[in-house]
Amino acid sequence: MKAFKPVKLALPVCGGVVLMAAQFGLSGAAIAAGCPAATVADMKGVPAGMYPQQYNRDEFEKLANCKLSLKTNPDIEKLNKRIRGNGDLPPLAERIPEDALIVAPYDSIGKYGGTFDMLSNATEAGTSDFLAIRHVNLVRYSDDLQTIVPNVAKGWEWNGDYTQLTFFLRKGHKWSDGHPFGAEDVKYWYDNLSMNPNIYEKPKDFVLVAGERMTVDVIDAQTVRFNLPAPKPGLLVHFANSYAQGFQPKHFLGKWDPKMNPDADKMAQAAGFENGLDVLNNYYGNSDWTDTPSPMLRSPDRVGKLPADTHPTLESHILVAESTEGRHLVANPYFFQVDTAGNQLPYVSEQDEIYVNEDEVRLLKLVNAEADFKEQSLQLSTAPLLLENQEKGDYTVHLRPEITMSTFSFNVTSENLEKRKVFGDLRFRQAMSVAINRAEINESAFFGMGEAKQYVGFSPPPAFVEEKWKQHYAQHDPKLASKLLEEAGLKDTDGDGFLEMPNGEKLVINMQFAVQGVPAALVELVGQHWAAVGIQTTVKEVTPDEFRSAQSANKLDVSMWRKGQPLAVILGTNEMWVPPYQDYFNLRTAMLWAEWVDTNGASGVEPPDYAKQLMDDINAFQSTPVGTPESDRLGARLVENMVGNLLFIGTVQVPAPIYHRNAVQNFVEYKTHSYEYYRSYPYRPTQWWLDE
């Protein structure tokens, strides 16, 4: 896979409207009527704007020297009637912002209509696949997964030391109920929801900077500023790749908060709810996750007494029906995006989601083309069947690399002191890494479609990751393994063909795993490979709950789970670089180093120097703008310490299928099969249309 360039955060510092205003001050050329239907495939001579594949309206009209004539979905009145609580629709010009976001479709100007069919697993389970299709946030990662571009915000501005982030919103932008959207809605989300102890017991990490809260200033109706207690360039990244949207409808949710409206509880009780916060929770789910159950599912007996079935949204579609079988959505009549020909997006009129939680049934439905798109929950093992039926089902499957890979980690702070000594010996870990026959794993477990790799911390590896680390001790070399084990003092003293620890104690490595974390076939092969160099192993499958609790209780010899994060995520969270190197639900090791760090050295085991260096470097790395030589230097040292010490041993990175029906137009091949950039969001599903 091609190496990814670092995210250029330095550029957008002066980006956004400030520069644009200067650029358009010189306007004056004659305006031709009707705009060229520019697409990414054929820009019809329209020059590129500040950001790839999209413009702000004034920028586009200036560059294309035209005036957009606006058009809307012919069924929009009918769709609007299905949104309970919405009044009659004003004309289109009053529904979209003055400076709407102009989207250049990939291949064609779309046709309105159709229902987009999706499969999810269950209520709130396996739904991000579908959520990402209607998702919006302040900004977005472009499909190169490097450039951050405007979305709800039309621009942004950092101050010099990354402690003030200002967003510029679009004038005339409206919520799906027609109420104006603005800076107040951003402040409301931060102050009254994210920081509200009645909503969140404890604020989420991503709304804090170095553990402290920010403040939010409303500069004017369309300008809002985050003031950070410490530099955090990653905050902008958060608003690009997180599910959590940096705004909520103050006019709608605020009236149920007793602190903002003294009548809140009375209104709520009149509708049969306990109090105002109960109603707020019914709508907002006390979570930024965007499909927590709506009142339609939560309180079907009382939802009729509430003013609307769901709270207003800025997304492309809005929920109109929900049950435990699935959901139904219709196009948001106030959606802020318009194509280059002046058509309001989305093209797709309705979306329908049904819940299927059985792998075989999901596969049957996909082969039968009963869904329009599927990425999440599709594993490489389903690829042969899906690929075989592509023509018959009139769909296409792309195999794209995942971000995580199955990774092993020896317990360097094992309770057994002799094991701690052995696992803590770098030569032992090197031996275990070269003992793994990654080529064989790739062939027999992954149809030869994967790529043998070492774990380097960043996935995909940015340019500052030196080549030598990507395959560091990842070759298959049993002789070298035996030599390293001998150097580490392991000998077969009892002649049973397996090595004993230096003190003569038997060494049997218990490999406990859960299939949710790593494939069984891979674990079994690695167990055999280690046995082949004289390390006795036993393999046992356990439930994810058992695995997690044993791992965090420091009871495992070796942990195994999928692991890997892209640069964009690492900028916002340091967990992969600080003992125990990830949260409770993922791959961890060195629990006693973590205890030492948490107790400031009062208990636990003191980590070695390289682990302390990793902690210092990740914090410095996060406060340094990406792409600068200083950031690259820190990044390179992070990789050197992480990979050089082989705390984590990588195996084979595999691709997974991404499915779409051929009727879905303007579909572009994805770069990765992953959650980390919020799934489909970078590939602009709002400009998909159905050719049926």
Partner: protein, 334 residues
């Protein structure tokens, strides 16, 4: 009459004690599984991309009252359960009574219909096959019934779905078609429901029928050869009259007795079939709660309701038996 009331009351009391004991076992089993509701919920939230610390889990545990002693929690649970209140689902955070709502009745209806179907077919067919001397009839009945017994239900469901997908382009999944999924109950919705519900009833009914035929056949074969039947026929009773009045009536007792057991068996098979057919009823929710989301609250509520149904059916069959079987009746009424 007083004795009969006393009998009914004792049976009802026993049923309630059984229910309480089962609930205790169910609750204890869930307690033995590693990881509690707080951990499960946050594990679930973690899959949605939120970072979670051990402190979060502790806070959630306190909030849910999971730090309280086990017996206290069970006591509270069982008192609420008898009032039809099961609290919130661990993962979905929805009120379980509302979540289950009509779903449990749909499941029960599917099971009871399968059971009814099974005995409507099994009783006459079992009697015929026990008394018939026609080898062709006997063997073909045996073949069909062994097939029903031997073939796993989920396989049958998958085969029917695959067949339907290839031939009709419809995978026959779900309890409702798309347009009726979110609609209110109406005549059309009932028709739509029936047009889909026949499939699980058919699949569950087949193996239940096969099982019931074997039971009826064995009981009948046992009875027909007995001396009282011979005596009756010697007195000139013959044909259908002989079968229905003597051996069939004797066989009926054990069959009524096994109804509760049969319902349990059908309900046990329902979740797998429901999962394959993506029916969103209580059975598939149970599998979902037990195997996927580890939602103890929801699973506990469904198992409790199921146990209550079976205990209830057993109670009813006891009463019916007491009314229909003179031997039982006499032993109660003295």
């Amino acid at each position: 009459m007083f004795q009969f009331a006393r009998f009914a009351a004792t049976r009802a009391g026993l049923a309630i004690i059984t229910l309480i004991m089962v609930s205790f076992i169910v609750f204890s089993l869930m307690e033995l599984v590693p990881g509690d509701c707080a951990e499960r919920y946050l594990a679930f939230k973690n899959t949605q991309g939120s970072g979670i610390s051990v402190a979060d889990i502790e806070a959630e545990r306190n909030r849910l009252g999971l730090d309280k002693p086990y017996i206290v929690r069970w006591g509270k649970w069982i008192v609420n359960a008898f009032q039809g209140e099961y609290g919130d689902s661990c993962i979905l955070r929805l009120n379980i009574s509302q979540l289950l709502g009509e779903k449990f009745w749909i499941s029960l209806a599917i099971c009871l219909t399968s059971l009814l179907l099974a005995y409507l077919i099994a009783i006459p067919v079992g009697i015929i096959s026990a008394t018939s001397k026609n080898p062709l009839l006997n063997n073909s009945l045996r073949f069909v019934s062994y097939l029903g017994l031997a073939m796993p239900n989920f396989l049958l469901a998958l085969m029917i779905m695959l067949f339907s997908t290839i031939v009709f382009g419809d995978s026959l999944t779900g309890l409702f078609s798309k347009e009726f999924r979110d609609a209110a109950w109406s005549y059309e919705r009932v028709v739509d429901f029936l047009s889909r519900a026949w499939l699980p009833v058919f699949i569950l009914g087949w193996s239940a029928t096969a099982f019931a035929i074997q039971t009826v056949r064995a009981l009948m074969s046992d009875e027909v050869g007995k001396l009282y039947v011979l005596a009756a026929s010697a007195r000139g009773v013959s044909g259908r009259r002989l079968l229905w009045r003597y051996p069939a009536r004797h066989s009926l007792g054990p069959i009524i007795n096994s109804l509760g057991f049969d319902l349990n068996r059908i309900f046990n098979e329902l979740p797998i079939v429901a999962l394959i057919l993506t029916l969103t009823e209580a059975g598939s929710l149970l599998i979902e709660a037990l195997a996927r989301s580890n939602d103890q609250q929801l699973a506990g509520a469904i198992i409790f309701l199921l146990t209550a149904s079976i205990v209830g059916i057993n109670f009813i069959t006891d009463i019916i038996l007491a009314l229909t079987d003179p031997r039982v009746r006499r032993s109660i009424l003295g």
